[in-house]
């Protein structure tokens, strides 16, 4: 029911039923206004549940929002804003919320005590996966994901400030005002739709005017300060090192086009002031979970802030003075207060309604909505008709963020609560209710004082002025669980009750962590925000220890659940990693080449032609281009590093196993690079362009790694070397031109014709390419007469088109990764398939390349006995007339295919159109001594068994005459 008829109402649906609500109010308020008490089913026993709170701590009222792919499960109805057309549904109930079959669990609950599942479902063994687990899984879980791609937009952002104020209640507003007035850059963040915190729900005065007016004035002042940024609907979710905070913003105006649903903020603050307030805690009494039983402060929020009355005859049950506020406010609003039950004998309270002191609620009735409660009072019992019970077990300061760096809160006996331990988070101070200071006057004063301290610490000159407000002390006598029989719920979300915790203690799960893990207390979506303290008080009682001695579990981020989409915003689809495109990308795509990932790059797999139906046909043709005419391939993705300086050659001698200081200007040499652990890191060619100028190439995959490695050597290991390295990978578009016609093709684009005399094998230098200054390297990764020609990237696409067009005239054309791979396998050149991080120079037959004349990275470690043992698996070639597979294992011909018998494995395979047979590279124990032998290749996964002949890995043109000629 609403106290007054609102003006602008919109319509939304709950389980298909059309409901009127006020835009911006929480869905929970609209449901209550429409008399809807039953909104959810509990996790384990499927008990009927209603709205319990008016904030982010809500335990019961979790709903699903939206339909189809947009459906979002487990949304708290208490923080979900009403908007036109919003579709809200209940969850975890079948066939309907009202008649839920799984409620049978509640009937058999005596057999489902904490941890029962550890003790059964063990026989027969195979039934776990087949029967028990599927049944348990189907019963478990709250809401459901749609299983479809999330269609909504999310965002991430960074923000920076001097002072981050977390929470905008009285303490937070005062802190922001004080710091802002002093000139600090302030961000004030609050999870509510409006700032003011507790003041929005209380009937109090500040400076002689209603608190809510004071809030509006404060907000106006903050908005007028350019150095203050207000962030509403923004929950600070985690505290991280060096003043970094995570925060989740629910962007206003859900589902507007282009607008993100949520934004995950990374806020960096020099200082933070935590003003997170406090959460009211429930009392454990039998059947305290019926729809209609709510937190006392939540009842005030619905009445005072949202103008909604949650019941017609409300009862209040508390152990502290604060509970009586609810009774007073209800009476003032003209709502019937059926009874006020205060567990304290000595409570001094008055009101125009029945008050029972020294009394307790011992029973409740009403399955789908509270109908009555039973009170124990003066040795007797009394039943009271009521449809709403407001309970208050006292307040828990919201200390969570102060524990995110493993800090432990401190127990304060006088308020029976944990408060933050100072300095738990470097740079963070606390003020107000989260600090255990519950009165408005104390909150305002602390907020101002703490902010002044913080501002002064930043070198500013703050002034402190504190408005007048209510400072009436808050008194409480702890009551955690009402004595007697019946199930008294503590963790409403995970259906943990007092007996579960006692059972845990009985079975020696006495550590608070064991109790939590055994009973699942505090592990539900609310992470025990309201229930943990009650639970550990019950545990302390059961184990005969005090609460401080029992200790708490650790609060960990995030403070409220954070959607994966928000924290992973931008990565859906291609956004996970940058895409890198070569200059020839468009031209390759225009030739219908499938583009495949090579690290972050895209490279053409092959260039299909009319009539070709299988990649192998294209590949064979492209291999033929290179072997018989000329092929063109974009090799720009290989790393290129410019190395200059007086010690450039010394640097290369140190990072390569072989000598580079002896390399002549205008020549290229192959180099092998080790990690310091003695294994091969990368290989490539390095060209000497001048006396003190080299350009190194790396493999595509290792380009970044090698660059960092060189900087490491120069800055850390050998800062005595005067040399500079810079990547020129992107500067040059580089193309391999390979095949018998390579020189002829090249001469069609070069400004001056070349021949073998001027440009022999392994020569390099500068050339004019169609009027553009370029570079030419006579190197070959195919074993053919070949060059790599480079031009500044702006001309890359143009040169690629020119070269491929000319190649086609000569009976050749472009070739892709597939052909490139076949060409290099035929020649026994290794790539990352062979250099997989575990191979040594010895393994690939390059032990000779480790120069004895100098030290180099990895040389000492490579000399360890295990790295050059003859029993190691060595690179070999394998031939067969039938197709082979990579990743197959190698065995003696008649050996059983077991681990102990495995002698090696294959790394790369191809069909060689040149040799017209199937080839493989692989590693074989003592392989170099076994050339000519026949062994067995076995691939269990693809069911391939072949006899293969072991041979030298260089299958084609072993003398290298073609490349040199």
């Amino acid at each position: 029911m609403r106290l007054q008829a609102p003006e602008n109402m919109v319509t939304f649906t709950f389980d298909g039923r059309r409901i009127k609500g006020v835009p911006g109010e929480p869905v929970s308020a609209a449901l209550l206004a429409n008399g809807i008490k039953l909104v959810a089913r509990s996790f384990k026993y499927h008990r009927p549940r209603g709205v319990m709170s008016a904030g982010a701590e809500e335990q019961n009222a979790l709903v699903t929002v939206g339909q189809g792919a947009q459906a979002e499960p487990n949304v708290r109805a208490t923080t979900l804003e009403v908007s036109e057309g919003l579709e809200v549904s209940s969850q975890n109930a079948w066939p309907s919320l009202r008649y839920d079959m799984m409620a049978v669990n509640d009937l058999i609950s005596p057999f489902l005590a904490a941890g029962f599942y550890y003790k059964t479902f063990m026989w027969p063994r195979s039934f776990w996966e087949k029967l028990y687990e599927p049944v348990i899984r189907r019963a478990a879980g709250l809401g459901a994901l749609s299983g479809q791609t999330n269609p909504d937009t999310y965002e991430k952002a960074f923000a920076f400030c001097d002072v981050l104020v977390i929470g905008a209640g009285p303490a937070g507003l005062m802190a922001a005002l004080t710091a802002g007035r002093a000139g600090a850059d302030v961000i004030i963040a609050d999870d509510d739709t409006a700032m003011g915190g507790r003041l929005l729900r209380e009937c109090e005065d500040i400076e002689g005017k209603p608190a809510r007016e004071w809030v509006l004035d404060a907000l106006a002042e903050l908005d007028a300060m350019p150095n203050v940024r207000r962030m509403t609907r923004t929950t600070v979710t985690g505290a991280y090192d060096q003043g970094t905070y995570g925060a989740l913003e629910r962007v206003a105006g859900r589902f507007a086009p282009d607008k993100p649903l949520e934004c995950f903020w990374r806020i960096v603050a020099q200082r933070a002031i935590l003003c997170a307030g406090a959460l009211e805690r429930p009392i454990a009494f039998p059947n305290n979970d019926r729809p209609g039983i709510m937190m006392a402060s939540a009842v005030r929020a619905y009445v005072n802030r949202w103008g909604v009355t949650p019941g017609k005859a409300v009862t209040v049950f508390g152990n502290n003075d604060d509970a009586h506020r609810t009774a007073r406010d209800l009476a003032a609003a003209g709502i019937k207060v059926a009874a006020v039950i205060d567990s304290r004998d000595d409570a001094k309270v008055a009101g125009d309604y029945p008050i029972y002191t020294g009394a307790q609620v011992i029973a409740t009735k009403g399955r789908h909505g509270l109908q009555s409660i039973t009170i124990r009072h003066n040795g007797g019992t009394r039943m009271v008709q009521t449809d709403c019970l407001a309970m208050s077990g006292g307040w828990n300061p919201t200390v969570h963020l102060t524990c995110h760096m493993n800090g432990r809160p401190t127990w304060r006996e006088d308020i029976a609560s944990f408060v933050p331990t100072p300095q738990s988070i470097p740079g963070m101070v606390t003020a107000g209710a989260c600090n255990g200071s519950f009165t408005t006057a104390a909150c305002l004063a602390e907020g101002a004082a703490v902010a002044a301290e913080v501002a002064a610490g930043l070198g500013l000159k703050p002034k402190v002025t504190v408005p007048d407000a209510d400072g009436t002390a808050y008194a409480l006598a702890p009551l955690w669980a009402v004595p007697g029989k019946g199930r008294k719920w503590i963790d409403f979300q995970n259906d943990v009750h007092v007996k579960d915790i006692k059972l845990a203690a009985q079975e020696n799960f006495r550590s608070v962590e064991h109790m939590k893990r055994y009973t699942t207390q505090g592990m539900a979506p609310d992470q025990g925000k309201s229930s943990n303290v009650v639970a550990l008080a019950v545990l302390a009682d059961a184990t005969g220890r005090g609460i401080p001695e029992t200790g708490t579990t650790t609060f960990r981020p995030p403070y409220v659940p954070v959607s994966i989409a928000a924290m992973g915003a931008g990565s859906q689809g291609k956004g996970f990693a940058p895409e890198r495109f070569t200059t020839s990308h468009k031209a390759s795509v225009a030739r219908d080449a499938p583009m495949i990932e090579a690290g972050l790059w895209y490279r053409p797999s092959y260039f299909p032609q009319m009539g070709e139906t299988h990649w192998q046909q294209s590949c064979d043709r492209e291999v033929g281009y290179v072997r018989n005419a000329v092929g063109v391939c974009d090799v720009s993705t290989l790393g290129k590093i410019d190395i200059q300086g007086p010690d450039a050659a010394a640097l290369l001698d140190f990072v390569y196993t072989n000598m580079f200081s002896t390399l002549k200007v205008g020549r290229v040499r192959y180099g092998l690079m080790l990690r310091e652990d003695g294994h091969v890191m990368d290989d490539g060619t390095t060209a000497r362009l001048g006396d003190t100028h080299f350009v190194m190439t790396t493999t595509t995959a290792a380009a970044g790694l090698v660059m960092r490695h060189l900087e490491f050597v120069l800055q850390v290991l050998r800062s005595d070397l005067d040399a500079k390295v810079i990547s020129v990978t992107e500067q040059w578009a580089q193309f391999a031109v390979a095949g018998p016609q390579a020189l002829a093709l090249l001469n069609t684009v070069l400004d001056q014709d070349l021949d073998d005399e001027i440009w022999p094998f392994m020569a390099c230098g500068e050339v004019g390419v169609s009027g553009v200054p370029g570079r030419l390297f006579r190197i070959s990764f195919s074993g053919e007469h070949a060059y790599e020609v480079a031009v500044p990237s702006r001309y890359g696409e143009s040169l690629f088109r020119m070269l491929t067009a000319q190649a086609e005239v000569m009976g050749g054309g472009p070739y892709g990764m597939e052909a490139l791979n076949v060409l290099r396998i035929e020649k026994g050149f290794v790539t990352h398939a062979e250099l997989h991080g575990r191979t040594t120079a010895f393994d690939i037959g390059m032990a000779r390349m480790v120069s004895a004349k100098k030290d180099c990275i990895g040389k000492a470690a490579a000399a360890r006995p295990g790295l050059s043992d003859w029993g190691r698996q060595q690179l070999v070639g394998l031939r067969s007339t039938n197709a082979l597979t990579a990743g197959a294992h190698l065995f003696e011909k008649n050996a059983a295919e077991t681990r102990g018998n495995s002698l090696g494995y294959t790394t790369s395979v191809c069909y060689s159109p040149t040799l017209q047979m199937h080839l493989a590279l692989g590693f074989l124990e003592n392989g170099r001594a076994r050339h000519g032998e026949v062994i067995k290749l076995r691939d269990h996964l693809r069911d391939v068994t072949e006899e293969v002949a072991v041979c030298d890995p260089v299958f084609f043109d072993p003398t290298g005459g073609r490349a040199r000629g």
Binding site: E72, P73, N74, I108, P110, F116, Y117, Y118, K119, T120, F121, E129, R137, A140, G141, L142, G143, A144, L145, T149, N150, G246, N508, F509, S511, E513, Y518, A524, P525, R556, P557, P558, P561, I564, A565, G568, G573, K574, G575, F576, A577, E597, E676, G678, H679, G837, R838, R864, T885, A886, G887, A888, H889, R899, S902, T907, D939, H940, L941, R942
Partner: protein
Amino acid sequence: MGYSGLRVIKEGFFGQKGWKPVWRDPAPKAAYDAIIIGGGGHGLSTAFYLAKEHGMTNIAVLEKGYIGGGNVGRNTTIVRANYFLPGNSEFYSHSLKLWEGMEQELNYNVMHSQRGLINLFHSDGQRDAFARRGNAMINQGDDAILLDRDGVRDILPYLDFDNVRFPIYGGLYHPRGGTARHDAVAWGYARGADQRGVDIIQNCEVTGIDIEDGVVKGVQTTRGVINAKKVGIVVAGRSGQVAAMAGMRLPIESHVLQAFVTEGLKPVIDHVVSFGIGHFYISQSDKGGLVFGGDIDFYSSYAARGNLPMKEHVMDAAMTLMPMIGKAKVLRSWGGIMDMTPDGSPIIDKTPTEGLFIDCGWCYGGFKAVPGSGFSFAHLMATGNHHEPAAKYRLDRFRTGVGLMDEEGTGSQHNLH
């Protein structure tokens, strides 16, 4: 006291009053035949197998906090035997067999669920590397199936096959891979050990190791001196500190690995899915929470809490691979302290001190090793001989370079794994 469905029903009728403590809380004795330092999964399983397989019951497990409070209680619960290098292959194969009989062996339901694990690959080269792995698994007698893209689509239809940054080429399917209820493993071994007479001593921190003439004599603890003929160090991330008490420097760096859990959701992910290229792996617990993790935070740390960039990276990977989980919400993230070795494989060995043994270096893969590690370490401690499946986990392999087990191929140096 035996556990059974019947017993659960009986106790249901009688208000659960008959359940006894799952393990006792004895005071430490002055001396034991053997002491295990560390009451985590590996320490408790070592104690269990010492008692069960070798009849050593006059032994104690010393735990500085509460048992199972380390990595066994903060991981992503994955159980698998999909290693390919000799040394690892036979060890994890043995460990998985122990998992398969664990519930009956312990009379404790650890909810070991062999729901199948799929390692995705995203290029021809990765496929071939996984083929080598899968073939090694079958050589070992374990199970592996190579799925192509359509094969993956059949069992994981919710992955993004059309727009993902690194397209899915296929997956290596390990049907016997799965998950288990992590805490229960610690409790189950504790119960089993306790029933065989092992003293499990919580809140007992070891502060020194007594060594005379190169022979171990016992340990000093916050609860007094305890003598022992044999001492086993099984303390994961704290290995460096405890080994230092015996004058050792280990090839170990401690790093934080984060893990995450969402709220309970109706069944949506039925397998364990591993997205290696994005360093992301996920499964759904029986309670419905999505449990997932990523790579280590990449700096040595004992803080047991993670940083934001790695959290974001994990969520980024989730969103590109399976954008249907975007609306699931992370409830909690935590960090375990991983004892990282240079080559990413563990150590189960004697130390230079006679009677002092060490079991460490499990990196971020220790959970699935809990039974195998305990079994093999118990064998070593009891007999003085290496247990065959764990015989290659030698401390000196880094010095000699013999038998390095670098499964990832990133190098046998620190901080490359």
